[in-house]
């Protein structure tokens, strides 16, 4: 029995979502174990820079903001792909979650009363912040929002939040096992009971059994190779765990966000806060092309829209030449040294360390890079996975689905803590009602299966491709053929090449069989899953013959609400040759599908009425495996509550109205 242990709650992934979830379960008295590839404070949450969206309405440019406006901006940003009830839960709880982080010690930047200098749409503006708001949490502007809403701690918001939440995890005595990776879930087809894990210190396998298992492993940007802002650990291990069961569907995997300002060519992120604070995008003629292309929002249209305009500039020959390929410029010079070394300090440090430039004197080379996966493990509004009781997901790993086909900047960092609270609450409640069952025989079966998979890699000899070469090939296919602009023809090529690549993984040979953690073996164990995530992304994008949010088909430019107002679901067990695709309604509609107010506006109207659509939602989701929720479907929606907010937002001239 030495290789099987147990805990009440197993959390896979030690970033903000996983840790906030663990806190909630631990505070309720459960024994919680977090496993993480890296010490939790090194999780990719730490790299989030610019801000966390919450409608506190504390500064002049945020006056009148409300969760209703946050709801509107988020649904529009999603291009109506989001589950609107989940957006509601998110927008209503974000202010509480952000204030709670202040309670845990996050040093949020605060309102300074008196004259403040801002740069807004190319103008230098002085605004008097009122005395009565002194010391409340400050906001900055981010793309796609009617009000300034992003709360921030300089440009180290994720770092500050992660350290505060990890401090709480230490305070609560949560057991953290860093350098440990889950290789497979343990389940009997109906209930998940933990995971087979591999220690990255010793290379040894074991099983951790649990009443509840939470996946919070973040995104899978590394399937785009080097063309991503993501950390090297974002290899989609959690999504692969769920997909491998063949039971739990992944949702909307074709919904991939490209961030407008990845440093070129390293891909390192520079925050949207740069443009929020007044930064410009320039082409090779030093023109602010966004002013003409998006007069209302300019550089602060949503990320999908800005990224597409940037790549179009490059395609039109207006990029700046570079040995690695053309890029554009981010111009922050007018923000000045003091602003850049305080409110955007981390951006200044990146410019200094990796480019050797001063952003108040020099331009920054940028190009859109893969940044975020809106899709992930499909869960209900409580965070429980479809079709497998006892499994939960939160944060970027999940498709909870508040982002639909495009996520607004600052909404994911806020999602981690809001979802962490909500899903952690579900887990705490479910765990309290369960006895710890130890399905030892099932656990042994999965343990032996993983041992055989591992041994298979070590035993394979002879000639074969290197796992790193296959990884590079995956990245090239994804960036070149499943990128910002997509066509049916290229997507079909990508699928063909990825199918071939998947077969090649079975012929790859390790160059080292060294005992211990063996970094090459660790990567090899993830590679098949990564190629499969690439394949379901490409196949999902090929099937979806419309353009919605970040999914832009130049051969199908319209958003088609008549046929595609739905969510892609895909299941694919390890033993199956082909993935199985299904579609479910996006969720109950409250805000009717309409124009976003930025980007292109071609669309096909839905044929049904809202009432007809909504009538089909409960059964439409249950039939795909949605498990019962604690409260009935739609209970959190507050239909029509956004109407006043829409009028007020319209009066501000944000372009977010009708």
């Amino acid at each position: 029995m030495s290789r099987i242990e147990s805990t009440d709650v197993l959390v896979i992934g030690g970033g903000l979502a996983g840790e906030r979830c663990a806190m909630e379960a631990a505070a309720a008295g459960h024994e919680v174990t977090i496993i993480s590839l890296v010490p939790p404070r090194r999780s990719h949450s730490c790299a989030a820079q610019g801000g966390m969206q919450a409608a506190l309405g504390n500064c002049v440019k945020a006056a009148g903001d409300s969760p209703d406006m946050h709801f509107l901006d988020t649904v529009r940003g999603s291009d109506w792909g989001a589950d609107q009830e989940v957006v509601r839960i998110f927008a209503d709880n974000a202010p509480i979650a952000v204030r709670e982080l202040a309670h845990f010690g996050v040093p949020w930047t605060r309102v300074r009363p008196g004259p403040n200098q801002y740069h807004i749409k190319g103008q230098h503006v002085v605004i008097d912040e009122p005395e009565e708001k002194r010391g409340l949490i400050m906001h900055r502007d981010f793309g796609g929002t009617a009000k300034w809403r992003a709360c921030y701690a300089a440009a180290g918001t994720g770092h500050a939040a992660l350290y505060a939440v990890d401090g709480e995890v230490v305070r609560l005595g949560v057991n953290v096992r860093d350098r440990m990776e889950a290789l497979s879930l343990v389940h009997d087809g109906e209930r998940c009971s933990g995971a087979v894990v591999r220690c990255l210190r010793t290379g040894k396998l074991s099983v951790i059994l649990a009443k509840c298992t939470v996946i919070a492993t973040g995104g899978y940007g590394r399937i785009y190779g080097q063309y991503t802002t993501n950390a090297t650990i974002n290899e989609g291990t959690g999504a692969s765990l769920a997909l491998d069961t063949g039971l739990v569907p992944l949702g909307n995997m074709e919904a991939i966000q490209f961030h407008p300002t990845g440093l070129w060519p390293s891909g390192i992120l520079v925050t949207e806060g740069c443009r929020g604070d007044g930064g410009y995008l320039l082409n090779n003629a030093m023109e602010r092309f966004m002013v003409e292309l998006e007069p209302a929002k300019q550089e602060l249209a949503s990320r999908d829209v800005v990224s597409r305009h940037m790549i179009q500039q490059v395609l039109d020959g207006k990029g700046v030449d570079h040995p690695a390929g053309p890029h554009l410029w981010l111009d922050l010079r007018h923000l000045g040294e003091e602003h850049l070394t305080t409110k955007l300090r981390e951006v200044y440090e990146i410019c200094r360390d990796f480019l050797g430039i001063k952003p108040w004197e020099d331009l920054i080379p940028v190009r859109p890079s893969q940044h975020y996966s809106m899709g992930g493990i499909r869960v209900n509004k409580d965070g429980e996975a479809y079709n497998l009781a006892g499994l939960y997901a939160a944060g970027e790993a999940a498709c909870w689905d508040m982002h639909g086909f495009n996520r607004l900047g600052g909404n994911s960092l806020a999602e981690t803590i809001v979802a962490g609270r909500v899903v952690g609450g579900t887990v705490a409640e479910h765990a309290a009602g369960l006895e710890l069952d130890l399905p030892v025989a099932v656990a042994r079966e999965f343990l032996e299966r993983e041992q055989r998979r591992l041994d298979g890699w070590l035993e394979r000899a002879g000639e074969g491709p290197s796992v790193y070469k296959l990884r590079d090939a995956l990245g090239e296919i994804m960036m070149n053929k499943v990128g910002i602009f997509r066509t049916g023809e290229e997507l079909q090529e990508a699928v063909t090449e990825l199918v071939r690549l998947e077969d090649q993984v079975d012929t790859a040979v390790l160059s080292s069989k060294a005992p211990g953690p063996n970094p090459e073996l660790s990567f090899a164990l993830r590679l098949k899953g990564m190629v499969r995530l690439g394949l379901v992304t490409a196949r999902g994008a090929l099937a979806r013959t419309e353009s919605r949010g970040a999914h832009c088909r130049t051969d199908c430019p319209e958003r088609d609400d008549a046929n595609w107002l739905n969510r892609t679901l895909v299941r694919w067990s390890r033993d199956e040759r082909e993935p199985r695709f299904e579609y479910e309604p996006v969720g109950l509609l409250d805000l009717p599908p309409g124009d976003r107010g930025y980007g292109q506006a071609q669309r096909v109207e839905m044929k049904e009425t809202l009432e007809e659509y909504n009538a089909g939602v409960p059964e439409g989701q249950r039939s795909h495996g949605m498990l019962p929720t604690r409260q009935p479907l739609g209970s959190a929606l507050r239909p029509g509550a956004w109407r006043d907010a829409e009028e007020r937002a319209g009066l501000t001239g944000s372009g977010a109205g009708h």
């Binding site: 010490p39 090194r42 409340l136 701690a153 230490v170 860093d178 090297t232 790193y468």
Partner: protein, 244 residues
């Protein structure tokens, strides 16, 4: 102009392999424009020796994974440009931490133990009230807290510390910085008296022998010299006050 050929002498030892002996191994690599040690080490592992162990994650100097000794000086490998180094580069793992293998060390266990020991979290004055506005804070104070909150726990200061290397119980610069960060935070309920035991002992601020290498090597340029001075003054103040 031809690119330089770089020679890397890298410490090798795999504790999981009974046949492994600690040694230096030499690799050569052609330099590329803007090459960092992140790029160089990955190329060596992928092209020359797949067993080489090291840690990177964010590759943008914010996660703190890749602290190592570069020519005898602790620093973040990801932001070290090879163009700033001589042709010959010698790499060792950080001392003062348990070795996992080659250039990889166990900082996670060390920092968790430190966090538990110094209580590196807010000790709340009252429970969180979800219906209340946030407690106000002057922005200057928020910025001062943020300044010391910027520590990324890479371990470079610990590795450079003359005391931490010979005295495992020493709270060490990163721990001192954590204490200072919570001491100045008005949301924390602890008083100077509560901090006194951990700050004012030989394992605390008075165990420092004043070399201040920590201040010189910190990749985030934290003002550790000022942190130590601040803690000494606060500790002495507490001592004098309690004698009255």
């Amino acid at each position: 102009m031809a690119n330089r050929e770089l020679t890397f002498e890298i410490f090798r030892f795999n504790p999981q392999d009974p046949s492994s002996e600690p040694r230096l191994q030499t690799f050569t690599l052609e330099e590329e424009p803007y090459m960092t040690l992140f790029r160089a080490l990955n190329r060596i592992r992928e092209e020359q020796d797949a067993t080489l162990q090291f840690d990177f994650s964010c590759r943008s100097a914010v996660c703190g994974s890749c602290g190592m000794m570069v020519n005898g000086r602790p620093t973040l490998a990801c932001k070290t440009l090879t163009s700033d180094l001589d042709d010959k580069v010698r790499l060792h793992p950080l001392p003062a931490f348990k070795l996992i293998g080659d250039l990889s060390v166990d900082t996670g266990t060390w920092f968790r133990a430190m966090a538990e020991r110094v209580g590196a979290f807010i000790k709340e004055k009252a429970p969180f009230d979800p219906d209340a506005l946030e407690e106000r804070m002057d922005d200057d104070l928020a910025q001062a807290i943020y300044e010391s909150d910027r520590c990324i726990e890479c371990g470079c200061c610990v590795a450079s510390c003359g005391v931490a290397n010979v005295k495992p119980g020493f709270v060490a610069p990163a721990g001192m910085n954590r204490i200072a960060r919570f001491m100045m935070d008005p949301r924390d309920a602890r008083t100077d008296g509560d901090w006194f035991e951990v700050v004012a002992s030989d394992d605390g601020v008075f165990g420092c022998i004043g070399l201040m290498a920590c201040h010189d090597v910190c990749p985030k340029e934290l003002p550790l010299l000022e942190v130590y001075a601040y803690l000494r003054r606060r500790a002495l103040g507490t001592a004098f006050l309690s004698r009255k």
